[in-house]
């Protein structure tokens, strides 16, 4: 069994207690300032400057500076030139931290550095259940989880785009029937739709204003998003520009087509709903049994990460469990193209 080093334990505890007291003092100061602000705000002219002085913004700016520094170094390396382009499809996430495609890589590197730093602090004081394998496990876990989150978000975005596209085409069709231009029609549609889709439509409008043709503007949209529906739209528009014909008729037929497609998608989702619920529950079953074992058996968690053999076994089990979810999710996507 492992013996706890009591002297180091006491030093660690004192550091934690001091840091908590420091944070509490800071919080009380902020609360008092906030109360005064409420009392006297009615008698004072509002601040004109837009600079945010809050604690949250300061922390965010520090993190941002780290990300910018890492991506500045990575930009000069030749190694990440191809890997950078993979993250182009995630640029729709218009975030404060993620502005370029290389920031996605630098965020991952920053997370890994933070884990290594924390683990090295634990190493200095030799905390009771520290092990090198657990650090490796955390690094692999964070890289996998960030990857899964990005893919999930992209899938959610594509679904949302497909849903909203029908309403966009409806508004375009209505404004065309009134007698407006196609750029005006897209402009009106951009104002009414979801903020995520709004970005894309405004990009199209800016492309059209800068002199790019309609077919090429929609083709660029397809390269950004890559869904079946937009490929259909862009190819039809490009054909129209060559063969000639009324846009309004084609948009009317398009509206019917999308309507049919979305109805079909909904019915498929309703059919798959019970299966999805049951099989996700079956996937979580090992976790439920594991928590039961953790509660009933003492020192199980320490024993699991004590030797290298046990930690490798735990990692393999986790990877095996994740494989189940990946296989099931691939089976559920019936309407996926390619």
């Amino acid at each position: 069994m492992y013996k706890i080093n009591y002297i180091n334990f006491i030093v660690m505890q004192t550091i934690i207690v001091i840091s908590i007291i420091f944070l509490l003092i800071r919080l009380i100061k902020l609360l008092i300032a906030n109360r005064y602000n409420k009392k006297f705000s009615a008698f004072v002219y509002s601040d004109v400057s837009t600079v945010d002085h809050s604690l949250e913004a300061k922390i965010a700016s520090i993190i941002k500076s780290f990300i910018v520094a890492i991506s500045f170094i990575l930009n000069k390396l030749h190694l990440f030139k191809k890997r950078r382009q993979k993250y182009d499809c995630y640029l729709f996430i218009n975030n404060y931290y993620l502005e370029q495609n290389i920031d996605f890589i630098s965020v991952r590197i920053l997370l890994n550095i933070i884990i290594i730093l924390i683990s090295s602090i634990f190493l200095l004081f030799s905390f009771s259940y520290y092990n090198l394998a657990i650090v490796l496990l955390f690094i692999i876990l964070i890289n996998v989880v960030t990857h899964i989150i990005l893919i999930r978000y992209l899938r959610y975005y594509r679904k949302l785009l497909n849903k909203e596209l029908l309403s966009v085409i409806r508004t375009i069709n209505n404004s065309l029937s009134v007698g407006l231009n196609i750029t005006q029609a897209i402009n009106i549609a951009a104002k009414r739709c979801n903020p995520l889709l709004n970005q894309e439509l405004e990009l199209i409008v800016s492309d059209l204003n800068n002199g790019i043709s309609i077919e090429k503007a929609f083709n660029r949209l397809y390269n950004r998003v890559k869904t079946d529906e937009i490929l259909y739209l862009s190819s039809i528009l490009s054909v129209l520009s060559k063969s000639g014909g009324s846009i309004q008729n084609t948009f009317e037929i398009l509206e019917e087509d999308y309507d049919k497609k979305i109805k079909r998608q909904r019915s498929v989702n309703n059919l798959l709903l019970p299966y999805r619920f049951i099989f996700n529950f079956l996937g979580i079953l090992p976790l439920i049994f594991f928590t039961y074992k953790l509660i009933t058996i003492n020192d199980l968690f320490i024993e699991l990460f004590n030797s290298l053999y046990n930690t490798i076994l735990v990692m393999l089990l986790i990877i095996y469990n994740v494989c189940y979810f990946i296989i099931v999710n691939n089976l559920m996507e019936v309407t996926k193209h390619e």
């Binding site: 490929l231 190819s235 054909v239 063969s243 090992p286």
Partner: protein, 220 residues
């Protein structure tokens, strides 16, 4: 196609199947020779492993000789058929739009093939490239039917061919055929949905049950 080992009938049969996979040349002979040479390796290995290998080797040879055809050719043809029918919905819809506005099938085919990058549009591109060398569109489309495994798409191509010969209006025919293709895809999706519970039950037995057994046997 004179060969001392394989008969002409056998070679022709495999050539037709390989054409459905999208190949251009006669590749039946190299395929068959490579297959027979590669199959000998496990048979010889079986003889060295045990004494019973001598008895097992001919059975292994016969089994692999027919099973490789299934894996390499027949299963791939089925996959290609499903993929081409999925591509066909988009391709023929765009062709239909083009045909309404343009009223000229050859020009419509040219424009659609230039704008869509599918497996199906590549096949149509091949047929249109053959017309530049001197073939008529009717013959080129007739040869295209040999390269496509699905009957639904071949029916549309025959419709287009008849329209070229007789000069009738193929607008409604295209509309009807696109509807059939969509219906076919919906049926395929329903088939896949009905298979899901059995597939995932197998995944549960082979993945989650072993994990549960390991967790339940945890002791100190």
């Amino acid at each position: 196609m004179n060969n001392r080992v394989f008969s002409d009938r056998h070679l022709n049969k495999i050539n037709q199947k390989l054409l459905l996979l999208g190949s251009n040349d006669n590749r039946a002979l190299p395929y068959l020779t490579l297959k027979t040479v590669l199959i000998f390796i496990p048979c010889v290995a079986a003889m060295f492993v045990s004494i019973y290998g001598l008895i097992l080797a001919p059975f292994i040879f016969i089994f692999l000789y027919f099973y490789t055809d299934y894996i390499v050719i027949y299963r791939e043809i089925r996959k290609r058929k499903i993929k081409l029918e999925k591509d066909g919905v988009l391709f023929f819809k765009v062709l239909y739009f083009n045909y309404i506005n343009n009223r000229n099938l050859k020009v419509a085919l040219k424009i659609t093939t230039n704008n869509i990058n599918n497996d199906l549009s590549k096949e149509f591109k091949k047929a249109l490239d053959e017309t530049n060398l001197g073939k008529s569109l009717y013959d080129a489309l007739n040869d295209l039917e040999k390269r496509i495994p699905s009957n639904n798409i071949n029916a549309i191509i025959t419709n287009i061919n008849e329209a070229i010969l007789l000069g009738n209006d193929s607008e409604e025919l295209l509309k009807k055929q696109i509807y059939y293709l969509e219906l076919n895809e919906i049926n395929f999706q329903d088939k896949m949905i009905s298979k899901i519970p059995i597939k995932v039950a197998i995944a549960f037995i082979f993945i989650i049950l072993p994990i549960l057994l390991v967790i339940l046997s945890l002791k100190i």
